[in-house]
Amino acid sequence: MLAALMPSSASTQGATTDAIFFALLGLSAVILLLVLTLVVTFAIRYRRGSKADRGALPAIISRQFELGWTATTLFAFLFLFWWAGSSQLSALIPPKDALEVHVVAKQWMWKTQHANGAREINELHAPVGVPVRLVMTSQDVIHSFFIPAFRIKKDVLPGRYTDTWFEADKVGVYHLFCAEFCGTDHSRMLGRIVIMTPEDYAQWLTSQLEGDDLAREGAALFTARGCSGCHGPSSPVHAPKLVGLYGRAVPLSDGRTVMADEAYIRDSILLPHRDIVAGYDPIMPSFAGILSDGEIQSLIAYIRSLASSPERSVQPGTASSGSLVPGTPSERSPAMTPGNAVRRQPPGEFDGGKP
């Protein structure tokens, strides 16, 4: 009975959230029952003209009671704060070995992109038991990436990266909702999260490898858009070299230090004059309006790849880095149509081989 009133929980965070939820539910039920019982009892016992004793209140009652219930509620609430707050902090940092998936939201679809370049529309395939980190941005308005079964939700903002992560602990297909009102088709901005066994996932992923992977695409762009003219290894221009940059602390000319993460790299491309690296002149032009969000993500992936393997040779490809993905309503996920429920399927029935 109770299970039918609860959403299925399919992530490691889900258990914690549910535990706090039930603790709150328990506390609320106790307080509510206390208040309702007292109100009903008093209402009956002290109804007008009843024979109940109505002598004056003992003088001690008023002050002691006030202080008593004030202190009790305060301590109960502070305990809840401590519990909920500390579990929030421990879930803050995704594990280092997390798979990384890029998400771009737009009116009204979700585009997801795996590290190897595999792209999906309104779907996200992921392995069970592996932490997955989502790096998200929006092309237009604020959306919110919401997977009820995993108890995660994060706003997806234009012009900024937000991230969240999950570790699924059950194979299945789950709802993905947009939770922040984003215009006409907000309620149709749905998707499916497909959690597979690691083997199925590996098979699915290899069968997706048709386009270039993100980093290779980024490398191509790096040349095509002229970045290599200054940032390339043999460039005569005095520009910061990007090998080994990602994840490092960068000293700035005004004395601050920033971490070279996705947000920093993105800002450096779009707003190059904001954070000048110490020892360099502010000569880089802004690429705002020239590069799309998808292209910036490819460039970031390329710069990331330089961090881990500086000697890696990159073959500039010829693939267009524009959107390769279909976007007309007929090509959207079946979950987009309200009649089509997101069903749980046994793992074997995933159409893993089909792109």
Partner: protein, 558 residues
């Protein structure tokens, strides 16, 4: 503790004509500076807006009977829930209790002939009507689809609807709020009758005073925020547009810095009403009067520092999130104190269950549920899951509809005899109160469940597994709508056929009951003198005596 008792001795009842018969022309109403007539003007306009917002949400609930889009299109749906939110928040919830009952009662309760700035008071009403007219114009011209929250960059760069007219309307209504707040603060400070010290003020006056302070301090932030929207949308200044260096989340900080305190603008006056009604029908002094006062001041004060709990998933720093979470738990404590004190007021009382008391007891239960579910939203991990779902919709409707609207109806029934001089049919009123309570729970309780199951708010189509809860909710809404229509009928009936109320039909304490019903233009024939505190329902150390209602049965036969 402060000794609490009512003014001793009856004041002479005026032989002057009542404020209602002080002139019958339209001009005598539209040009009036009488706080009581202005209260009636608000009552008429606010009732109109209440039903307008109600019609919009009725269509919304009908649409949600099925998971498919079978009544209205997506755009129409988005405009309807926006209309519902904008009208209900800015033109019903915020002005309802302060501007109708605060206006009518504040001077009466403190023994003043009028508010401090009577013409400013009338101007506030015109500003409110002007704002509402602009908003309704936007509705007729095609509506607005941003939600009442106007989140950027959707509202500034993507919405093709009448955002500017709506923002201008809300902006004007904000000025009305500020002017009213200033007026009430000045009135409370300057015009108290001799002997009416701060701790002899009725709790309703304290509530209106605390609300006014929040109005005056918070509303300018809303005005600035709306100006920024206009600046970006109309003049093209980059304020929230991220592609030009703006910050879309800045809007949310500004907006909620106003709008969270605005929740207290809506609920503090309700707390004042309920305190008055419970103490009157339990025939006991309010338990812990001073704690009740400090709790209201605490809510008004801490209420300014909790806005961030609306933004836990908006990419805010997690450490900022923790601070907002902490403060949100703390602000719940004074509300809990008030609930316990109302409950304790019933202890050893002589409780009678007239319609205002039924509404007030309904408030007590519903507000408790609404307040407790607020704790869920203050807990970050749970908030992450339920924010922007129907859980939140249910939570704030329990506070704002279960709480404030219940209190609004309690106030309407409690002071109706004072305002109109007539008594309404008690049986009908009790029936409506009970129907409203059940209809409300029927409508909104299923939304907690469907919200925790994950149904996002503002969805016009939804996955079919959520249907059963939506059908329950929509069915409840039908009952609720019927319950809201009933008072319209029997209260209108009472205006013509209701029995004369007399000065004090509830045998209540408080200065407003010491003058005629309806009161004369100048409120009191002579300035009253107060020598004891409020709620003198029984002498110190004695049991309360039951009151003999003078209204029972009248009108019921008709």
């Amino acid at each position: 503790m402060t000794t609490i008792a009512a003014p001793s001795g009856d004041l002479p009842v005026s032989s002057e004509p009542s404020y209602l018969s002080a002139g019958y022309t339209l001009g005598s109403w539209l040009g009036t500076s009488d706080h009581k007539r202005i209260a009636i003007l608000y009552a008429i306009s606010v009732t109109l807006f209440f039903f307008l917002g109600g019609i919009a949400v009725t269509i919304v609930r009908v649409e949600l009977f099925t998971p498919e889009a079978d009544v209205v299109t997506a755009d129409t749906y988005n405009r309807l829930f926006t209309l519902h939110g904008v009208i209900m928040v800015w033109f019903f919830m915020i002005p309802s209790i302060p501007n109708i009952f605060g206006n009518f009662l504040l001077p009466l309760m403190i023994g003043a002939p009028d508010v401090a700035f009577p013409r400013l008071n009338l101007m506030s009403w015109y500003l409110n009507i002007g704002g509402a007219s602009l908003t309704i114009y936007a509705l007729i011209a095609g509506g607005v689809d941003t939600g009442w929250t106007f989140y950027t960059p959707f509202s500034t760069m993507f919405s093709n609807t009448h955002v500017l007219a709506t923002a201008a309307g809300v902006f004007l209504a904000g000025f009305s709020s500020i002017a009213t707040g200033v007026n009430f603060i000045a009135t409370t400070h300057m015009l108290r009758a001799p002997g009416m010290t701060w701790f002899r003020l009725p709790l309703f006056v304290w509530a209106i005073y605390a609300t006014s302070i929040v109005m005056v301090l918070a509303t300018p932030v809303l005005a600035i925020t709306l100006i920024l929207i206009v600046a970006e949308r109309w003049l093209g200044l980059p304020i929230f547009d991220p592609s030009r260096g703006g910050d879309p989340v800045l809007f949310q900080h500004l907006f909620w810095f106003y709008s969270h305190p605005a929740v207290y603008i809506m609920v503090l006056p309700a707390m004042g009403v309920v305190s008055e009604v419970i103490t009157c029908f339990a025939r006991r002094r309010v338990f812990g009067y001073t704690f009740m006062v400090y709790a209201m001041i605490g809510i008004a004060g801490i209420g300014f520092f909790v806005w961030g709990h609306h933004m836990f998933v908006a990419g805010m720093s997690p450490y900022a999130g923790l601070i907002f979470s902490f403060l949100s738990f703390v602000v719940a404590v004074p509300s809990a104190i008030k609930v316990f004190n109302w409950t304790a007021t019933l202890y050893r009382g002589q409780i009678s269950f007239d319609a205002p008391m039924l509404y007030a007891l309904g408030f007590l239960g519903l507000f408790t549920i609404g307040g407790l579910t607020g704790l869920f939203l203050a807990s970050i991990p749970v908030d992450v899951h339920v924010t922007d779902t129907y859980f939140v919709v249910a939570h704030f409707h329990y506070i704002m509809v279960g709480g404030t609207v219940s209190a609004f109806f309690a106030a309407l029934h409690f002071w109706w005899p004072k305002i109109t001089g007539r008594l309404y049919p008690e049986t009908w009123a009790r029936f409506a109160a009970i129907l409203m309570f059940f209809g409300f729970n029927f409508t909104f309780f299923p939304q907690f469940i469907v919200g925790y199951l994950g149904m996002p708010r503002r969805y016009h189509v939804y996955p079919p597994e959520f249907q059963v809860y939506n059908v329950l909710s929509s069915a409840g809404a039908v009952i609720l709508a019927a319950a809201y229509l009933m008072p319209l009928g029997y209260l209108a009936w009472s205006l013509v056929w209701g029995r004369r109320a007399g000065r004090n039909p509830w045998d209540a304490t408080g200065l407003e009951w010491q003058t005629a019903s309806p009161p004369p233009r100048e409120n009191f024939p002579r300035t009253p003198h107060v020598d004891v505190g409020p709620y003198d329902y029984h002498p110190e150390g004695m049991s309360p005596a039951p009151y003999q209602p003078r209204h029972r049965g009248q009108g019921d036969q008709a």
